[in-house]
């Protein structure tokens, strides 16, 4: 079979792999796919296009801001050192970006189902292995091309062909190493998240891995804004410790490549030892990148031969049944489901991520202390987004339809379980906010009470939003919601959450204005509205539910 034909087949496989990765990261899509497959396909395609564009934009921004950082920080350290660190920063951050941006898609490679159809067709084993490699290549071709073209081109234009060439070699090595790490980690995560071991340790590993990955992703996206600061910091460190520090940095990837490239700038003053260390280290990393390339290929080829086994040698345990109360059992089941795929973990930790994203509003006030307006803005922003997290909890039920159809569970019981989990997420998010408010020098300590009084709103948000969704989409019965596929419901839930959570905050703001800054009265009114909403939710929820 010729390469063109294999490339064409690999295109079909990579589409299927993206599709499965998409479903895997959006568990609710699994059941909804039958309702409107064309819509899901369209969404997947647009999500892929968006992802490609975002990757291109990120990498280009990263390249430009890295090089710009070397030119901007004119006051600190010699130019060649700044350039060395800037190039290193680009390579390091590219490694992280490539890794996190493609983690979900890569995890999909390790389920054997994408290759299942091909294995029944008349292809040789070597054809199958090549097709899976090409399919993998097709998924990564866009970001890989951007990395290996944009940055070397910038270096070529600004610093000359030789440095452009070293930058290209650095980019190729970084691509290979990040894909290698990606293959290894996603294979490990797939095995961990689909493993049948039920020990507490494996659950903790799963949650920690998921949390680490999600937080890592978030950190990677936020990193680009801090490049000049990081470069500045590294320059200061290197200047303080002298040439020996630079020589030591030259051993470490990606600094060895950055230093090697910068050493080619005319009139640089790196010592010959530093240059030699950078050159030798770079050669070692080049060899390592080549070995990684071969190993990644080997790992991917194993996919063609039946995927990854997740069960391993199991110790068979006695058949016992661990009974909990029905609501606790639903919560336990939801937590187990949520920690077994990245999409769901994201849903669970979303309110906390929102808190971290709101940090600048709280921390960087021009006056140096936290005003009521910033506190209100921060609290309102977080609560509005918690609505998505609530839908995420509802989406976990998309898979177990057969169980729910036969089990004597009423809608209220399921709702109660979901609201309890949501209340913990909400309370955690508000608690972090309380700490930040306390640390951000508030104009009055009473501001700290603002998120505390919001705590019970979780009850009203949880019951009213979820019951409304059950009412609209399930006629009052329990229904799973697709976050990606059902934007109308996502918007509705966000609007409802904003209204429910915003009403007490609005009441607080109004009274504060009307009384010219009486925080106690404003907080009292906030509490009154929170309690009213609580009572309202108790009255309305049963009317929206059925069965």
């Amino acid at each position: 079979m010729n390469l063109g034909k294999k490339w064409q087949i690999a295109g079909a496989v990579s589409t299927e792999l993206r599709f499965q990765g998409y479903l895997d990261s959006n568990p609710m899509g699994l059941s909804r796919i039958k309702e409107n497959p064309e819509r899901i396909m369209r969404q997947m395609k647009s999500a892929n296009t968006m992802s490609g564009l975002v990757s291109a934009l990120f990498i280009s921004t990263l390249g430009i801001s890295s090089i710009a950082a070397a030119y901007i920080n004119l006051g600190s350290g010699p130019f060649h050192l700044r350039m060395a660190l800037s190039i290193s920063m680009f390579l390091g951050l590219t490694f992280i970006l490539m890794f996190f941006m493609n983690l979900m898609a890569t995890t999909g490679f390790f389920g054997a189902s994408a290759m299942r159809l091909l294995t029944i067709l008349p292809f040789s084993r070597s054809d199958l292995e090549n097709i899976i490699l090409l399919a993998f290549g097709r998924v990564f071709i866009a970001p890989a091309v951007i990395i290996n073209v944009v940055f070397p081109l910038i270096c070529f234009v600004l610093l000359g062909p030789l440095i452009g060439l070293v930058a290209l070699a650095g980019c190729l090595m970084t691509t290979s190493l990040s894909i290698g790490a990606l293959v290894k980690v996603s294979k490990w995560f797939y095995v961990k998240s689909h493993s049948s071991t039920n020990s507490k340790a494996s659950t903790i590993i799963r949650i920690a891995a998921g949390l680490g990955i999600v937080v890592g992703m978030f950190a990677a996206y936020s990193m680009t804004g801090f490049i000049p600061t990081i470069v500045q910091l590294l320059v200061q460190l290197s200047s303080s410790f002298g040439e020996i520090a630079v020589s030591m940095l030259a051993v470490v990837f990606p600094f060895s490549l950055g230093i090697l490239a910068a050493a080619l700038i005319p009139e640089t003053s790196f010592s010959s030892v530093t240059v030699a260390v950078a050159a030798i280290s770079s050669m070692i990393y080049a060899a390592l990148a080549y070995i990684t390339y071969l190993r990644s290929g080997k790992a991917l080829r194993s996919v063609a031969l039946g995927g990854v086994t997740t069960s391993g040698a199991e110790i068979r345990r006695d058949i016992s049944v661990d009974i909990l109360s029905p609501i606790s059992a639903i919560i336990r089941k939801d937590m187990k489901l949520a920690t077994r795929n990245l999409g769901s973990i994201m849903i669970i930790v979303m309110p906390l991520l929102m808190v971290f994203s709101v940090y600048p509003i709280v921390a960087f006030t021009s006056e140096g202390f936290l005003r009521s307006s910033s506190a209100l803005l921060g609290t309102g922003y977080i609560t509005t987004f918690t609505g998505i997290s609530l839908i995420g909890l509802l989406s976990l039920d998309s898979q177990g339809a057969s169980l729910h159809e036969g089990l004597p569970i009423d809608s209220r019981m399921i709702l109660s379980a979901k609201v309890r989990v949501f209340a913990v997420q909400y309370a955690l998010a508000m608690s972090v906010l309380v700490i930040w408010f306390a640390l951000a020098s508030p104009i009055t300590l009473l501001l700290v009470l603002l998120p505390i009084i919001q705590f019970p709103t979780a009850y009203a948000i949880g019951y009213l939003v979820a019951a409304t969704i059950y009412h609209i989409r399930g006629g009052g019965r329990v229904t799973a919601v697709n976050i990606i596929g059902d934007q109308a419901i996502v918007l509705l839930s966000m609007a409802l959450t904003a209204a429910i959570a915003g009403a007490p905050l609005g009441a607080y703001a109004l009274i504060l204005l009307a009384t010219r800054g009486n925080h106690l009265m404003a907080l009292g009114m906030q509490l009154a509205v929170v309690l009213l909403e609580f009572l309202f939710a108790r009255q309305i929820t049963p009317r929206l539910l059925k069965g």
């Binding site: 997740t310 345990r317 009974i323 898979q399 057969s402």
Partner: protein, 264 residues
């Protein structure tokens, strides 16, 4: 006066439409206590819709459906407490293990740990499922998923089993075990309502069958009674089915078309 056993299931003049399509049209039948009742019909005849209405999962347009005298629509939770249900399409939590699913189901049904463990253990042994007990659902074959569904459906020792196409895609051994499980359940005083289009299974298992086509009950009774209705003495259920649903001609035509297609 003749003694009549109480009906486990009673469906009276049931009508259910999806938009302009009438899936079930004025359907009435009873399932008596201690019997296996087979609901037979071609694909799209309205069998699954009928069972879903019975489980309180769908609201009927008109008519009534009761299980042990309880209205399915009004008291679905009470109905589900006495019923073990295996739907046609099995959708389980794929990333959980069978053990975790059984823990979940037993907790929801409020069973004691000892009772649940004993039943889960005995049924796992009987269905040759012990090896699969700690595997994630996603790794199970269709037959093993079907077995797991059956264990889950019978964990609370239900009075009535409602099984939607329980034999589809099963190997001979698993199908036989499934058949025996249903027989044991009925011998123990339970009832079973199953939909199927596997005629041999229905013939060997059901005390009575109801044949529905386009949502309408075409014929109902024991095999002998159906033979008399179709005016074919001693015929197989397959022959009766084809005759009563008027599909004999369609089958012959289809086979002829296929013969021509494969002959090219």
């Amino acid at each position: 006066m003749e003694w009549k056993p109480m009906a486990s299931v009673s469906i009276k003049h049931l009508v259910k439409s999806y938009g302009s399509f009438v899936a079930v049209n004025d359907l009435s039948f009873d399932v008596r206590e201690g019997e296996v009742y087979g609901l037979l019909g071609p694909n799209g005849a309205g069998k699954s819709t009928t069972l879903k209405v019975l489980m309180g999962l769908l609201d009927p347009d008109s008519g009534t459906s009761t299980v042990f005298g309880m209205d399915s629509g009004a008291s679905p939770v009470e109905v589900k407490k006495r019923v073990g249900y295996v739907p046609e399409e099995i959708s389980l939590y794929e990333s959980l293990t069978a053990r975790e699913l059984i823990d979940f189901v037993a907790s929801i049904r409020g069973l004691s740990p000892e009772t649940a463990a004993r039943r889960a253990s005995e049924m796992s042994k009987a269905l040759d499922f012990v090896q699969q007990y700690d595997k994630t659902v996603v790794t199970l074959s269709h037959g093993n998923k079907q077995k797991l569904m059956l264990i889950i459906a019978m964990l609370h020792a239900p009075d009535l089993l409602i099984l939607d196409e329980p034999f589809t895609g099963l190997d001979v051994r698993t199908a036989r075990i499934m058949k025996d499980v249903i027989k044991i359940h009925v011998e123990g005083g339970g009832s079973a309502l199953l939909s199927t289009h596997i005629m041999e299974m229905a013939e060997g298992l059901c005390n009575r069958v109801g044949i529905i086509d386009h949502g309408v009950m075409v014929a109902e009774g024991t095999l002998d009674e159906l033979g008399r209705q179709a005016q074919i003495e001693g015929a197989t259920l397959e022959k009766l089915f084809l005759k009563l649903t008027g599909a004999e001609g369609e089958v012959e035509e289809g086979v002829e078309t296929l013969r021509e297609a494969l002959g090219d």
